[in-house]
Symmetry: C3
């Protein structure tokens, strides 16, 4: 019982930090475009929840954030954090990067499990895990009228795809669920950190002329 | 019976005027970008129905405009109105502004009631009311490749949030439904008109450097 | 039995070619914007499946591509095709145009039939047929941060609208289903080809000043 409670708490903390980091990234980009408080709140919320929302709509489920207020209030908190600590945000870039990477791993795990429980094929499961991780950032960039950052060279999405694939393979092999979850999240975290540190990128498509 | 019929008619007229004003705003912006008739029709329709559509998708309901042709045909009418009265539109700016503001109040009331009937928490209800009012304009601006106007300083969204909140509070206090509906719509109308007249805006987020 | 099998195969081939042509169009535009492989894959997939996905979400159905892997793997194939035959793509422009136009007719027929089976009004059916044909290209252009091509002068959407309308009329008149399907698809194909050859366009809305 105590063990169970501790696990819940731990996952909740990670999910909160991930949501916080995703929302902060949206709010900071909105701030660079001189959005007002409402605009920044929308962009922050969409960055944090957009991936899971598209996943849930595609799966025919009620979007996760409509069933618990924590994601919304976490975004409100993020907004006031950015407003209050504006001058110190740059110094915290590294911290946000860690939160973001840890959160990404968890988001993908959540997306994979939810899709798996509905009995879809592995490639749909992997796609939904990836959508959970990356679509928030894509909608964020559409809202601020920029080409999505994730399309022009980061291993962000590849980390999600590899992580979700490993989840499916380990599940197929009958590995213990907790082991799978932790391995997947840690793997995504490591790929993202290593790729960022060594500037590893996917090849870019060359134009035709 | 007669009373009931009159109420229906009155709400229908307001809804039609609101849809008309929203569609006109989309079609005029499309016209400024030299869209063809089809493009203008799409932008007009999305402006008028996009908020309610996202709300209905999130709530797992069939989008409202698929169940009655009035919204679509109203948009077609708006298109021909813009084509026919192109040179006189500027003079009608004030009229459109009134229709738009009246329509906004009604749209929010409709969104709030629909969400409330499904038993969601107050913050979800307020959010859905606001989504109903503002998301059409956001998608409109994405389609014409501009940063959403609503994010850079208008009290438009705040009017929706305040109106929807007052609706929830009055409902909690057991006020008569018709009174709540009228109060909410009028309040949203007044906030929007006053904010526009006195150029009241939300604070803008400052960039970090 | 043999006849049935042959029909299925034939429709499958057309659907595959259509998906291929739509995906290629997305991937080539992504390549012009220097997207990486992941970005190009996303844009290609969204171009090929976006219309049917929005249609299915609006209809409350599971998106068609989640039930069969052929659309996803066809997009992967398209990506490698563009990477491998980069220098020869321009020479194939005509071939892609044929595939695209044939695919368009089929996509509209599929969208119309799916909506009709759910008992919606004719104007919803026509709209869903058109959405199936054109929305993929709209989302593609949003993702590459351009104004949707379809809004500024092509008869692309009009071909879908006319084709879907003819489908509804023939169905109302009790014409044999196979005849309706073939007539609709061929009609859309012809309108698109003729409009492109003779540069027939919809009127553009004039700005107000």
């Amino acid at each position: 019982m105590f063990e169970f409670w501790r696990d819940i708490q731990f996952v909740d903390v990670i999910e909160f930090l991930g949501t916080f980091a995703f929302a902060i990234s949206g709010i900071r980009l909105a701030s660079a475009k001189k959005f007002d408080w409402f605009g920044a709140l929308v962009v922050g919320f969409v960055t944090a929840t957009g991936g899971g929302t598209l996943r849930d709509l595609l799966l025919g489920e009620t979007p996760f954030w409509m069933l618990s207020g924590v994601y919304f209030w976490c975004t409100v908190l993020s907004l006031f954090f950015v407003i209050g600590f504006r001058k110190h945000l740059v110094k915290l870039n590294n911290t946000f990067f860690w939160f973001d990477s840890i959160g990404l791993g968890l988001f993908v795990v959540v997306g994979v499990e939810k899709t798996m429980a509905l009995g879809f094929d592995p490639w749909v499961i992997i796609m939904m895990g990836t959508i959970t991780g990356v679509v928030g950032g894509i909608i964020r960039d559409i809202l601020i009228n920029e080409i999505p950052l994730i399309f022009t060279g980061e291993l962000y999405a590849v980390a999600c795809i590899i992580g979700a694939s490993v989840f499916c393979i380990m599940d197929h092999l009958g590995v213990n669920l907790t082991v799978i979850q932790i391995t997947t999240a840690v793997l995504i975290f490591i790929i993202r950190v290593v790729a960022t540190k060594f500037k590893i990128k996917l090849p870019t498509l060359k134009g035709e002329e």
